[in-house]
């Protein structure tokens, strides 16, 4: 049940607005504590990030607004989007920087070259 409550709370328009404001301006705060987030606050933040991005995806027509009709749809879309992101991150072009060795055979440091 807790997950359902957290989702409902994170989906509230005033919460999403506060989240957007808090990201840009430090005078807006989501929590009374500045540090040491509880596990609950941590989860809540994850939901806020998720719903904030889903609302943007809906606005840019990346996903149907039906996604917000059901928790199962939300989970599935989150999974699909993460998988897609992982695939993009692991394409050879994006991997190049990390694959290039840091040390060469003569033990000189080779800083990774920027991939254009």
């Amino acid at each position: 049940m807790l997950d359902t409550y957290l989702r409902k709370l994170a989906k509230r328009t005033e919460m999403l607005n506060l989240f957007a404001a808090a990201k840009d301006m430090s005078c807006f705060r989501l929590f009374n504590n500045d540090k040491e987030l509880s596990k609950l606050q941590d989860s809540f933040l994850s939901y806020l990030y998720f719903y904030d991005s889903v609302v943007k995806d809906i606005a840019s027509k990346r996903v149907s607004e039906k996604v917000l009709e059901d928790e199962i749809y939300e989970n599935a879309y989150a999974y699909y989007r993460n998988k897609e992101k992982d695939e993009i991150d692991n394409t050879p072009k994006n991997k190049k920087q990390t694959i290039q060795g840091v040390f060469s055979r003569d033990n000189k440091i080779n800083f990774p070259k920027e991939v254009k």
Partner: protein
Amino acid sequence: MEQIKSEVLRDEEITKILDKMREEYQVDKIAELIKDNKIEFENNGNQYRVRLLNAKEKDELDMIRRRKFGQLLKDKDILLEKDLMIAYKEKGINIEIEIDEKIKNLNAQLEDISYKLGQALAKTPGDTILKTYKEEIIKLNFKIRGLTIQRGHLLEYSLENHLQNFVAQAISYLSLDVKIEDKWIRAYTSLEEFMKQEDSLIELTGMYSMYLHYR
């Protein structure tokens, strides 16, 4: 007949509204908890609050946990999860194959269908396909939950489970304060004393403290 029907419908509507109100109340309570990691409630005329443990209390919890772990390790009647699994295997129940492997396979199926459902949502989704995937996911989740509960029952008496339950009680005890003359003080002086209180207080405290510390 018509009157009975309309009364049943009216009752259903009332139940729905009450459920919605209860849910909204719970969501508001969670909002309160999230804001500053504290929640106040009343029980038997006393004002209580559950809050996040501070550094000193976390040290105290660590000490209580280590002491309990030592006691459990010395108890010959309590087996570690891995030893309990071996004992079950000797009796013909192979948890790894009969439960863990099945859960792993079901999870793989769940990921596969979730991906397809997510993809369908990202394209132009038709309601039928979404509902089909959703039903498949519900069935898989149901099977996974069933196996997880079965595993939990089989390993209920493992050392790890004993310790986990004990730690949950200890966290509840440490995080509960009572208001006396406008001051908040720890509600009970020992875990034993806390565990002697009425069920409603223990359950509420347990629920809120688990929300905060475990999620």
